[in-house]
Symmetry: C2
Subunit: 313 residues, 2 copies
């Protein structure tokens, strides 16, 4: 198996990507090869400096970079030899099995939609973020966290289907409890979107619907998967970031608090596209990149895109 | 000045309300009288038990109670001798100057709209919650936090006006920086609502618009007032609650963390109605009730409803 990683993506590229790739390749051993896409004149010295001689790391030289501020569609179109564009071409032609990047998320989405494309039947792909639970028993999933800021009820219902398959296959939860993020637990609570979505989910047959969940219950064991529109999900995710920063600033330390640190997380998988794609935070450090590559590996192993395809048939 | 408090509101009524009223009356001294509305056979024993002989505390007996689960409009209409209904009648006839409750928020809103009514020109009244800042320099304000879960851009724009007057008069901030909660700082980011609101605020003349703010900046000094729809604001507020609970559970203590404890807060003032109204969390303890009464006192002193009326003329 070959996992591609955009070495030029992220605020401090290429160093965290290269070091993360080394760490992941050591962990993967003969299970898979990590392919770094980017400027080899910048990547090779870092590999040498760290005496990297693992056999399962490859470098594929690309001459261009899509910057964080670049217009996603234009950059993907015009920078034909960028790490992201070449990565997607290789993914499409099966030279690699999965692709991840801490770079321009918009370009990663454009790349997905232009090459591997959305799975037939998917209204909108989405981003699924892990939510660390205080009990530590399982990991929660929140989706969407930023791809679609205006959602219709049928889109949220489909997120329930996607989250259900993800929690089953990625976290081995037999019957995930899928809840709808809302501002009250009672059926009649919420805005127009959540009220209409509740109706769909209540009568749905595709997953176990656990009703509404409020945001003060996000970190408890109430739900395995929490569904919301991308605007609300992004607000929640960034508020988690701020609490980590505050705890850090106040010198409040605890292993759980470290779980809230996005820099140490992997990335967020894109659900609903035809191949394993993981995108990461721009500030990802080498641990985050390593975890992102291992996430992509696991998504490939469990054949997540195929499982989603089957569920939609 | 006479501040009314619903003694029957809240999960543990009437004890926290009575004890909070005692504490507030001691603090207010001859500046104001606290009027407890509720079952005197339950209120008087608590006053006696605590040897309360402050001259500035009154009890007005009411025979009915609007429960937390009651339908707000029906209960307000049918329970004519409930603490909330009588409190609003007294507020309307100027027997009291302000009214607060930790009880049924819906009934408090129905009461406001049926008696003292919205200020002419107000599209929708809203709830303004304090947001403790990590610097401690000032207190931020987030609005709306739950009254209007579906907002139009003109409503959000008017929240900017309300937040501006509130921060100026209540927190003495000369020129409050008003920001729009969004999922990116750039102008073009957001959902349909925030994009359209940005356009209105950018060209607005009623307050200093500081642009978009993301939720990872809520607790910094970037904004004095953060504007959002009531759905998103409520999600944020309850996520703050969850972080307080988590910190508490993990035994992480710090004065700032205590600031996140809604039980110790006052309540949230209703902005845009013709008299000072403050509503509190159902789980309010006596400190929260005391603070809620003192908030209502301050809102009355600074003539907030009149200031809002002037700004809208």
């Amino acid at each position: 198996m070959r996992i591609g990683i955009d070495a030029m993506g992220g605020d401090f590229a290429p160093k965290p990507a290269v070091l993360g790739a080394i760490a992941a390749s050591i962990e993967l051993q003969n299970l898979g090869t990590v392919v770094l896409y980017g400027d080899s004149s910048k990547i090779e010295p870092i590999l040498k400096e760290h005496n990297c001689n693992t056999a399962n790391i490859d470098v594929f030289h690309t001459s261009e970079t899509i910057a964080m501020g670049d217009h996603p569609a234009k950059a993907f179109q015009h920078k034909q030899d960028s790490s992201i564009t070449v990565g997607f071409k290789h993914l499409q032609s099966r030279k690699i099995d999965a692709f991840c990047s801490a770079g321009n998320t918009g370009a990663m989405m454009i790349g997905s939609m232009h090459t591997i494309k959305a799975i037939p039947g998917i209204i909108r792909p989405c981003l699924a973020s892990p939510i660390p639970k205080i009990s530590g028993k399982t990991t929660g999933t929140l989706l969407d966290v930023g791809l679609n800021s205006d959602c219709k009820p049928d889109v949220l219902y489909q997120y329930g289907i996607l989250g259900n398959i993800y929690a089953k296959t990625y976290y081995d939860i037999e019957t995930p409890n899928i809840c709808l993020l809302n501002i009250g637990e009672e059926e009649e609570k919420g805005n127009l979107l959540t009220k209409a979505t509740y109706e769909l989910m209540k009568d749905g047959i595709h997953f176990k619907f656990g009703g509404n969940i409020e945001s003060n219950n996000l970190f408890t064991d109430k739900a395995d998967v929490v569904v919301c529109d991308g605007f609300t999900g992004n607000i929640i995710l960034k508020q988690i970031e701020s609490f980590y920063s505050i705890a850090h600033e106040l010198h409040l330390s605890h292993p759980y608090i470290e779980n809230l640190n996005y820099e140490n997380h992997g990335g967020t998988p894109v659900l609903g596209v035809n191949a394993p794609i993981v995108v990461g935070h721009g500030a990802s450090n080498e641990i985050a990149i390593k975890n992102m590559i291992l996430q992509a590996y696991r998504i490939t192993i469990i054949k997540l895109p195929e499982k989603i395809k089957q569920a939609l048939q």
